[in-house]
Homo-oligomer: 107 residues x 2
């Protein structure tokens, strides 16, 4: 794996790819946790019910869709939500998918 | 098939089910066409690149997710977007997924 993972440019954001990333509840939870934290989170710092290798796959899908930016701090891989870029490209989408996390219908 | 198809009540709307319905581009197109028309459309009246039986499957998925309401007028099955109910339950979601239909990134 390259030390600096590749990320799509905003001009490459694609709604179908973003929806395919967000239709998975674990990936939606990762995005919601980043959004709620308002800070970057290391790969090991999320509350998700999957193995480390499965989590790595989910982070990759999110990164390739443009939803998160990954970078290293020492040996920790950090994850940043690309919220402003997503909001600019798909206004309201992340709001709609993260705002109701605490509601009974889940999210 | 029953003459009056069953529909979920608003209290049964589930974000995961709605997203699984909307992740399919043909189903998203059906929703967008209903939204753009601002009127109910018969099953045969949509511009979608699938067979009649496949279209029937897509309408069923949308109905069971609560996105459309189906009813008969004579022998025609009509489709109505449950926009207000969806907006009330998942504010901004349909706006985010239908507003950019005409944009280059598709929808």
């Amino acid at each position: 794996m390259a030390r600096t993972p590749t990320h799509p440019d905003v001009s490459q954001f694609d709604l179908q790819t973003v929806l395919e990333a967000l239709v998975d509840p674990v990936r939606r939870s990762i995005v919601a946790q980043l959004d709620a934290a308002g800070a970057d989170i290391a790969c090991g710092g999320f509350d998700i019910p999957v193995s480390k290798s499965t989590a790595t796959h989910h982070f990759t899908v999110l990164r390739e869709a443009g939803l998160i930016r990954q970078y290293y701090v020492g040996t920790s891989r950090m994850n940043a939500l690309r919220r402003a870029e997503m909001d600019e490209t798909f206004p309201g989408l992340l709001d709609a998918l993260t705002a109701r996390r605490a509601a009974r219908r889940g999210g």
